[in-house]
């Protein structure tokens, strides 16, 4: 009796994934192989269930890779891809540079303060993501907070809003908890005796960190980088609010195709191509040896 239930419990996440991830992806994949049509919904072909097998066959014959060919030929899409990946990668590197010292600093505090600081890292989640990104507009706009501070310090004003820099800044701000938490988790579990062993064998504090602590925290670095890089590549809100018309990122391409151009197949094809690209780092992460964590 008990065993049956635990078997069901193990199946549950897979069922969840199938319903809320598998089916939607299949749906989008199918859309990406369709053509636009002046109809409602605006794509063709559709399955004619009344015709039975013949209808299914006609539907399959109507699917093609035309939309993908169009994407590959259009510089607009390729540029959006390139800038999406470039911006995500830049933001990921910056997140590591900011997040690692933060996680390290938190881990080094006494336990009481440590949990307070971890809470502080996730505290921004208590307020709306949208509101927090709007707040950055107030900070970055020409007559905003940043320029007021710069002016007070006697420095020339900067016009950051609607630039790539503003988008990267917003991404780093928005995704910082997703970088800090996995790093914190892996650093918190570190074995302090290994560092002592390194010190004992003649390594100064810096060398002990770079040759022992850091390599052993790499699984956390990889997890944090993936957790940030993947959603950032498809991010819509931050580039839309802080980036203006430039730079064009894939999230906004998908939105425009879907809602403005009503080209559902194109939007789907962009999404599927992005998904395929993002599978590469995930598969690389899966294949890395995990024994190190023991």
């Amino acid at each position: 009796m008990r065993r049956d239930r635990s078997g069901l419990a193990a199946l549950l996440p897979y069922a969840w994934l199938l319903v809320f991830f598998g089916f939607p992806v299949l749906l989008v994949a199918r859309l990406s192989l369709s053509d636009t049509a002046l109809a409602m919904p605006p794509y063709a072909p559709r399955i004619d269930w009344s015709a039975g097998v013949a209808g299914l066959r006609a539907f399959l014959a109507g699917l093609d890779l035309e939309t993908y060919a169009r994407l590959a030929a259009d510089r607009l899409y390729l540029d959006a891809y390139a800038s999406s990946l470039r911006i995500s990668a830049t933001a990921t590197v910056l997140l590591l540079l900011v997040g690692y010292p933060m996680a390290w600093g938190i881990v080094r505090c006494r336990p009481r303060l440590r949990s307070a600081l971890v809470l502080a890292v996730i505290l921004p989640f208590w307020t709306s993501f949208l509101i927090r990104i709007y707040a950055w507009i107030a900070i970055l706009k020409p007559a905003g907070l940043l320029n007021a501070v710069l002016g007070a310090a006697g420095l020339p004003p900067v016009d950051l809003l609607n630039t790539e820099a503003a988008v990267i800044l917003g991404l780093v701000y928005a995704y910082l908890p997703f970088m800090v938490l996995p790093l914190y988790a892996v650093l918190e579990r570190r074995d302090e005796r290994l560092v002592e062993a390194a010190r004992d064998l003649g390594a100064g504090p810096l060398r002990a960190f770079w040759t022992v602590t850091f390599p052993l925290s790499l699984p956390g670095v990889a997890a944090g980088a993936l957790l940030c890089f993947i959603p950032m590549a498809g991010e819509f809100v931050v580039p839309d609010l802080l980036g203006g018309s430039e730079p064009l990122m894939l999230g906004r391409v998908i939105w425009t195709e879907f809602f403005a151009n009503r080209d559902w197949p194109a939007a789907s094809a962009v999404a599927i191509a992005l998904l395929a690209t993002l599978l590469v780092p995930i598969l690389l992460f899966e294949r890395q040896p995990r024994r190190v964590l023991g």
């Binding site: 290994l194 002592e196 062993a197 010190r199 004992d200 003649g202 002990a208 040759t211 190190v292």
Partner: protein, 334 residues
């Protein structure tokens, strides 16, 4: 009178001196005013129950702790200000603390950063040969058995050619059989290298089997220092006598005790001059010896007799007479 050490003790100069060293943690003195000298080239053991401060004392020598009071001298110089990586002292950690992301060779080479590449490689090879691990250089620690990991830890700590090797409970993680073997190998290695070994252990058999001299620690203080035989045969206090082996304590008129080890108590089937009459309460046959618990007018006395041929053990309930050679008993203060 004084029992000599069973091994010749080197007469070399002191390599380490602790002078009035104290180390407190949150008000509690883990090490409390310790004075101790360790001689160059000897195998020295710090023996004591867990929490007695022996590990803290070792960490003070390695540089992981700094004394709150007193001085730690290495070759006559105060090393208080030296961080662990500047001390010519290497440690074999209790759980070995091998670097899991490095190979066996990488672990052993870790302390050889200052050496030219070729020299370091030769040293790694030499060390792996020393601990008989040739051929395993490319393995990762998790691919090794516990005994092999212990050898890597030993090779890694010896590779930088330290002045002193510290061993924190070196045999604790090994199984019984391996422990006996490794114990012999460690002493042989120490003799061969002529290096000063300082071992921390809670196991008196281990300490006595390996060490040239040992210090018994209790509650942060050193209560006795001497050769194993000296400490065993003439413990300075009741606490030491009870910690190192078993002891019979017979109350003395006017306070204090007369102490005698169970293996020195003779068991006779008939009254002998000057013997103490008693009844066998328990006789446990232990193979090589028989252990008696005898009730006497002076209290309960333990006797441990070798089972030599032709001497049938006295059965439980039998009347017996106990005696011991006068030099086997000694006075202990109250």
């Amino acid at each position: 009178m004084d029992a000599g050490p069973d091994r010749p003790v080197s007469t070399a100069a002191d390599i380490v001196r602790f002078e009035g060293v104290s180390r407190r943690f949150a008000g509690h003195a883990a090490v409390d005013g310790v004075d101790l000298a360790i001689r160059e080239g000897e195998f020295f053991a710090l023996l004591g129950p867990s929490g007695c401060g022996k590990t803290t004392l070792m960490r003070l020598l390695a540089g992981f702790e700094t004394p709150d009071a007193g001085r730690v001298l290495l070759d006559g110089t105060d090393i208080a200000g030296l961080p662990p990586h500047r001390r010519p002292v290497c440690m074999m950690f209790q759980s070995y603390a091998l670097f899991p992301h490095l190979t066996v060779a990488g672990n052993v080479a870790y302390g050889l950063k200052g050496l030219p590449r070729r020299e370091a490689a030769a040293r790694v090879e030499e060390m792996l040969a020393l601990v008989k691990l040739e051929g395993l250089a490319g393995r990762k620690p998790h691919q090794l058995s516990g005994g092999q990991q212990q050898r890597v830890a030993l090779a890694r700590a010896l590779a930088p050619r330290p002045r002193i090797l510290l061993l924190d409970e070196p045999l604790a993680a090994l199984d019984r059989k391996l422990r006996g073997e490794t114990q012999g190998e460690l002493t042989a290695l120490q003799r061969r290298l002529g290096l000063t070994f300082v071992v921390v252990t809670h196991d008196q058999d281990e300490a006595m089997a390996m060490a040239d001299r040992l210090a018994v620690m209790q509650a942060g203080r050193i209560v006795q220092v001497g050769a194993p035989r000296q400490v065993y045969e003439r413990p300075a206090s009741r606490a030491v006598a009870e910690f190192v082996g078993e002891v019979n304590l017979l109350p003395r008129d006017g306070g204090g005790w007369l102490a005698v080890r169970p293996e020195r108590v003779e068991v006779h089937g008939a009254p002998a001059p000057g013997s103490l009459a008693g009844t066998v309460r328990e006789a446990a046959f232990l193979g090589d010896r028989t252990r008696y618990v005898v009730d006497t007018a002076e209290g309960r006395i333990l006797a441990s007799r070798a089972n030599t041929a032709g001497e049938p053990p006295a059965p439980s309930g039998a009347p017996v007479w106990l005696s011991w050679p006068p030099e086997a008993a000694w006075d202990l203060p109250a």
